[in-house]
Symmetry: C2
């Protein structure tokens, strides 16, 4: 945990930006796998972590703006609990570490909410993503799950605050990124013909675990990198395959890292692999240099797309005017997704609070219709303290190529004959994490090898 003062300060700042009412924060529970008492590992809700820091299931908290008090609701251990689970720090002690002196039994929460509602006071709450909390909110508020109305005022205030990372949060994120770096180097040492994808996934998870980290998301470790969210891991690596590893660690305090590297299972890149890789790397480096306060991330995304098109024109897969190609979204045959997203206590930071608030503004909302842009999670102007990923890629998706070609879509920009030579190429993605500074940007963590030469040398050194 950070210091009690940290949580106190964060709550005070939040309190100052909400007019009145009660702010209700629900912690997460231990979600059952196949029966009630066989749970998945516990992960506290990120907003709860941000304002209270307590990693404990089945607790809740209230900041009562009108009465200027903060209460944590939860139950102390019974002697039965102690016999089964051992003596632990009390909730009272944990709350004090969070700077909160008042605790009440969990069952008192419904009384408190009922009283507030009876007094016609506003009860602010966030969009629930775990079904347990949907039912809980429905019970607390006496309305149907489908009728829940999260507080936009509360969402906006929290997004504003959590978007700008404190220095101590950056320390945590760099710790996550450095463990992620080690995971990627391990994968580079392991990947060779005959190895199974899941063996690499298991090994990097083991490494993270030994550094007291979880995975910040289900790792994508695949020889079919053309499939964007590929969680199938039963393939065997073979010579000639491109291996894509998109994985990151999460620290014990909940902060995420998120990195991607792509490299050949054979120790060296083939000419085709190297050419595409360097197009992506060039787009990556250009995008990185554009990061600074005041620049719209949507514009950096489009610039990166331009650089991808430039490279694809050089290789003969695309043709015509690159700017026109991007305007017509012709690049989305190869780059179907977004350039990056916010990162922090969540790998897609605050995704539960709503992309429209986290990545966009009311004046410039998200384009939810256009293929490509509808998958861009971050469009708005960058600010000092934002932490973002940059992750351009080129993905060959046979099903998509066939659909576009049948429609002759964007034929003035795409050489379909040439593209079909690459239809089983797979995909290349390169991804790093950055914090926006007053001057521009800073790469988070100690840096991870990225050029063709660096990767080939590292693998030659470690693969016998």
């Amino acid at each position: 945990m950070f210091s009690p003062q940290t949580y106190q300060d964060r709550r005070t700042a939040l309190q100052g930006s909400i007019k009145n009412g009660i702010l209700l924060f629900l912690g997460n529970i231990e979600n059952p796998v196949n029966f009630e008492h066989n749970p998945y590992y516990f992960r506290q809700d990120s907003t709860f972590l941000y304002y209270f820091g307590i990693q404990e299931p089945r607790i809740a908290a209230i900041i009562d703006i009108d009465e200027n008090k903060t209460i944590i609701f939860g139950d102390e251990l019974s002697i039965d609990d102690i016999i089964w689970m051992g003596r632990q720090e009390t909730l009272k002690e944990k709350s004090q570490k969070s700077g909160v002196s008042e605790t009440l039994p969990y069952r008192e929460l419904s009384q408190y909410i009922l009283k507030a509602k009876t007094a016609n006071r506003k009860v602010h709450y966030l969009p629930p993503y775990q079904s347990f909390n949907k039912i809980l909110l429905s019970d607390l508020l006496g309305i149907k799950v489908a009728e829940l109305q999260p507080s936009v005022e509360m969402i906006k205030a929290i997004v504003k605050q959590r978007s700008v990372k404190e220095p101590q949060e950056i320390v945590q994120i760099e710790q996550a990124v450095n463990v992620s770096n080690d995971m990627h180097l391990l994968a580079m040492r392991m990947a060779r013909p005959g190895v199974k994808e899941y063996e690499i996934a298991n090994a990097i998870q083991h490494l993270a675990g030994d550094k007291e980290c979880q995975m910040s998301y289900p790792p994508i470790v695949t020889i079919n990198g053309g499939i964007l969210h590929n969680h199938y891991r039963l393939n065997t690596l073979k010579d000639g395959d491109l291996f894509l590893n998109d994985s990151g660690a999460e620290t014990a305090m909940g902060y995420a890292g998120d990195l991607t590297r792509t490299f050949p299972v054979s120790t060296t890149f083939s000419t085709q692999q190297k050419e595409i890789y360097e197009v992506v790397l060039n787009a990556f480096e250009n995008a990185q240099r554009l990061l600074k306060p005041g620049v719209k991330f949507r514009d950096i995304h489009l610039q990166a797309s331009r650089h991808l098109v430039d490279g694809l024109v050089d290789l003969g897969l695309m043709k015509g005017n690159p700017e026109e190609a991007v305007k017509n979204h012709a690049h989305t045959l190869f780059f179907q997704c977004g350039l990056g997203h916010m990162m922090g206590l969540d790998v897609h930071d605050m995704e539960d609070l709503g992309e429209q608030y986290v990545g966009y503004t009311e004046d410039e909302p998200k384009d939810t219709k256009t293929f490509g842009l509808k998958s861009l999670r971050l469009g708005k102007s960058l600010e000092t303290g934002f932490v973002v990923t940059v992750e351009p890629g080129i993905y060959m998706i046979p099903e998509l190529i066939d659909i576009w070609q049948a429609e002759n879509k964007n034929a003035e920009f795409i050489n379909y004959d040439k593209v079909n030579e690459y239809r089983n190429f797979g995909g290349v993605r390169i991804e790093d994490d950055f914090v926006i500074t007053n001057e521009g940007y800073k790469l988070l963590g100690n840096g991870l090898i990225k050029t063709v030469e660096e990767i080939e040398n590292y693998r030659k050194e470690h693969i016998s």
Copy 2:
């Protein structure tokens, strides 16, 4: 998956034991960790696995008894899904492997249920344990979550069927137990002063993962074995500690193993450790020999308790008549829990369906009041084909000793002075998995070392 005929036969048998109405089976979903699209690993509901075998989130099934038809509800992939997740086997294809030819879109489920309700037909469903399915059932049936009434007729029929394992299920369970054996041997090779508990937990999970297994439950790997459900894993092992490892693998098809071994972090047992260990081992071996059809597991539990008391009397921790001691539950100061439980597709098999049906009968219900017996999950007569764990233990819990001593509880059977010499001893548990046969029992898996001599020799050989 097993053969289509297997699932067909199981469904036919179930259908024959329910008078009328509709049997509704809900599959599990991908539960979110910290936002909707960041999920925990997917685990299908065990009953769904048993009757349909399909490992796919957000599907449901109906066996319509009245109209004698079976339908699987779920959605085929869209082109958008294929771009992001790759081309996969269709739900139609998966359903055929389950012996089901009729599939319908997921949204049609509510229509089907509505029609049945309108026609005043009975809709049978099981107790939901995941909140998502609580909400779904509430919506489908138009009643509040708190008012859901699972079908006892359906529960009883399923428990009867799933309790008796088929030979092909025993093959799966033995596979799980053998991977669990390897996990335990690895822990025995790793455990030495300076190692962290979590390093052992991570390593055994890695081993299981490389054999395409999950953990069947959160492993208990601890130097504080006196805490029964200890999931704290940050301690460092040191000379003199007893190390307790309660962990098991689950096969890709969902079948569980569940083993416990306890051994000293120093290569050899201390006299005190050895003495207590052999009391538990003796109780274990005696209990094992009692396993056979027709014997009540509750009686074996009480016999095991008697053997524990015999040993504790010999060591001077208890005194008086052992039978009287057990009758007075004096052994529960050391053995607070139950001797074992059913095991199968769940490590506590069918716990979601209700212990009163799985472990007990209406004529001889569970003793839910008496300390000790209230934690015994299985009491009823064993039958050929049941799979059970046997797991006696002796646990020193300082908090419990203090409470009993203050009350002078069972003072005629307990030498509190002597007991206090052991208050920081920790705990010993020994656990194996058995199938009940016509002749008696069969140990599942290839067997795992268990005597003091075997464990000391193995560790001397592997710890340098």
